[in-house]
């Protein structure tokens, strides 16, 4: 008996199919309005598919803002809203066809995620970077106060770690032994203006988190075997007095050859020709386009 939406038995093939459809959704949403952030969205498509369709115990059909007694996910790097919206719709938080309204006037699918229009699955606005770990830590503490044993997940960008508030939250989480939260850093080493190393080095990332007293794991966010190994390892470290971070290597633009290996697609929509090329690399799945 499992009242939650999660399926630990889901196969890699099934996840791959969902992730391919999610990538199509991302590109179709961005292409339709000629704006949005496809690069990081494509890079995180596999990870968010794994979380929403395999690992998180959550309740898409009966969304409650409070997230009591269920696993909760926060997207701190709100600009990758296309991938967030796709996994939310595909897992049942809101109708799949609503993706066609992305970034359009009167939509619930705002450019960056918000609670303001009441989109199920979103619990806080994000987009101004650096705030997600603080909010997640707050909800994780709330769960502890309520003896609620579920987990709070939060995804941040790696460029986002340049924000000072991140390190306030990292210090706070250790101090309060927030061990019911798993932070994942999308370590694609790219940001709008270039590579993170060139813009503002965030070197020795594992050592930084270790020095703050966190449990640190590393994972390839575009490799199902790596995720199937490391995500359960992270979950096994819950409840042991330390906050947990997964430094997740991804490729910005993963799945579309000309979008990979560059920061150029951080926040740019493809042309018609590029779109046709990309769609040919991501054939429509049995799930169908929105």
């Amino acid at each position: 008996m499992n009242e939650y939406f999660c399926d630990f038995m889901r196969t890699v093939n099934e996840l791959q199919t969902i992730a391919t459809q999610v990538r199509r959704d991302i590109l179709r949403m961005v292409y339709a309005v000629k704006s949005g952030h496809p690069g990081g969205s494509l890079g995180c498509a596999d990870f968010l598919t794994a979380l929403y369709f395999k690992y998180m115990k959550h309740n898409p059909s009966k969304f409650e803002l409070t997230g009591n007694q269920e696993d909760v996910f926060f997207l701190s790097n709100g600009h990758i809203s296309p991938v967030f919206y796709s996994v939310l719709a595909r897992s049942g938080y809101f109708p799949v066809p609503e993706m066609a309204t992305f970034r359009k006037l009167n939509t619930r699918l705002q450019g960056h995620p918000t609670t303001h229009e009441g989109l199920p699955g979103v619990r806080v606005a994000s987009g101004s970077l650096g705030q997600g770990i603080s909010v997640a830590a707050g909800l994780a503490l709330e769960k502890k106060l309520n003896n609620d044993n579920s987990t709070v997940w939060v995804l941040t960008g790696d460029g986002e770690l340049q924000e000072g508030q991140i390190w306030e939250a990292v210090m706070f989480s250790k101090h309060y032994k927030i061990d019911n939260m798993i932070v994942t850093v999308d370590f694609n080493q790219k940001q709008i203006d270039g590579s993170t190393g060139d813009i503002m080095g965030i070197t020795e990332l594992s050592s930084k988190f270790l020095a703050f007293g966190w449990e640190v794991l590393e994972m390839d966010g575009n490799d199902w075997n790596s995720m199937d190994t490391v995500i359960p390892q992270a979950q096994a470290k819950l409840g042991q007095g330390k906050p947990i971070v997964i430094i997740m290597k991804t490729e910005m633009g993963q799945g579309v050859d000309f979008m990979m290996g560059t920061h150029a697609w951080h926040g740019k929509a493809p042309s018609e020709e590029q779109m046709n090329n990309a769609m040919a690399q991501l054939p429509v799945t049995e799930l169908g386009d929105y």
């Binding site: 803002l65 409070t66 997230g67 009591n68 918000t114 609670t115 303001h116 619990r123 806080v124 606005a125 994000s126 987009g127 101004s128 650096g130 705030q131 997600g132 770990i133 603080s134 909010v135 997640a136 830590a137 707050g138 909800l139 994780a140 503490l141 709330e142 769960k143 106060l145 309520n146 000072g164 508030q165 306030e168 939250a169 210090m171 706070f172 101090h175 309060y176």
Partner: protein, 318 residues
């Protein structure tokens, strides 16, 4: 002019501390966070009564605001505590995105506001906070005038759903609002009915407005004195009704003219019922070190300044 009995001399921050304790006793969902100023914010009683519901956030206000938002998402009623300066400007983007836009039920308790902080000087004497907070859609902005009203306001905001900015101060100040005066968010409090001029005052300046009322009464002038403790949402009906009755208006506050109570009332009257108006507020300047009384005199926020403004407003009546 009605006589006001002075019931004591207490700081408004102590009213907050007492109100927070009572709110915590009434509702176990009330939690409190503080950025290394527990004693200054008078939060020790709450901390001692509910140690697991009190979170020391350290000197990291941005994170404190985010954590408060997260606690509120789950169903808690978090109060954040730090100086008004660090409760607003320092964390404006965190409040804007994670609290105001996300409509999280966070109560931002801001102490040591305004010039009456005194000797610490202008780095800490924020005079822009009301403006910053009232510009945020959905934010309720409250600036109570004495110990009893601050206590009552704290209890009242714990019961309402939505983000609130609660502003109070450091110095001991006359207590003149009775303990049993109900605090109704968004409702102006009539302190003295009059016919010649309407004085709308908030925070510590309410007492100065009352003193000004006595100065004016000696000249045979009947001042209507109204306490606007809730700057947003403004009690539009009360302001319009009084301005219509007296025909001229004075506003008084411990804040910049830009963005404060006077600015809200001037906007309302300009749009609905143009009326001669004079503002008692800081005129586009920072404060400085000094005693609260010295500073209020130097920056023209004293009772005589309120009375002089009333005379100017009356002279402008057509």
């Amino acid at each position: 002019m009605r006589k006001f009995e002075i019931l004591g001399s207490k700081d408004t921050r102590s009213g907050f501390g007492a109100g927070l304790l009572e709110a915590g006793q009434a509702d176990e969902n009330v939690v409190a966070l503080c950025a290394d100023l527990t004693g200054s914010l008078m939060m020790d009683a709450f901390k001692d009564a509910f140690p697991t519901r009190f979170l020391q956030a350290g000197i990291a206000e941005a994170n404190m605001m985010g954590v408060a938002a997260g606690l509120a998402i789950g169903g808690k009623v978090p109060f954040t505590g730090t100086f008004a300066n660090f409760s607003t400007g320092r964390v404006y983007d965190q409040i804007r995105q994670s609290i105001a836009y996300s409509n999280t039920n966070v109560k931002i308790a801001a102490s040591h506001a305004g010039l009456t902080l005194g000797e610490d000087g202008a780095t800490h004497q924020i005079l822009e906070d009301i403006g910053l907070m009232k510009m945020l859609p959905g934010m309720t902005v409250i600036n109570p005038c004495d110990y009893n009203q601050t206590k009552a306001a704290t209890i009242a905001i714990a019961k309402m759903n939505g983000p609130v900015y609660l502003r109070f101060g450091r110095p001991k100040w006359p207590v003149f609002i009775s303990e049993d005066t109900p605090f109704i968010i968004g409702k102006a409090l009539m302190l003295n009915e009059g016919t010649d001029v309407s004085i709308f005052a908030t925070g510590h300046l309410v007492w100065k407005a009352i003193e000004a009322g006595h100065i004016l009464a000696e000249k045979g002038i009947s001042a209507e004195i109204i306490n606007i403790h809730t700057i947003k949402p403004l009690d539009v009906e009360a302001v319009i009704a009084s301005a219509k009755k007296t025909g001229c208006v004075v506003t008084a506050e411990e804040h910049q003219m830009n963005g404060g109570l006077g600015d809200s009332i001037a906007q309302l009257l300009a749009l609905k019922m143009p009326t001669p108006l004079e503002m008692v507020a800081v005129n586009d300047s920072f404060g400085e070190s000094g005693t609260p009384d010295e500073l209020l005199v130097k920056y023209h926020l004293d009772s005589q300044d309120v009375a002089d403004a009333a005379l100017r407003a009356i002279a402008r009546k057509v």
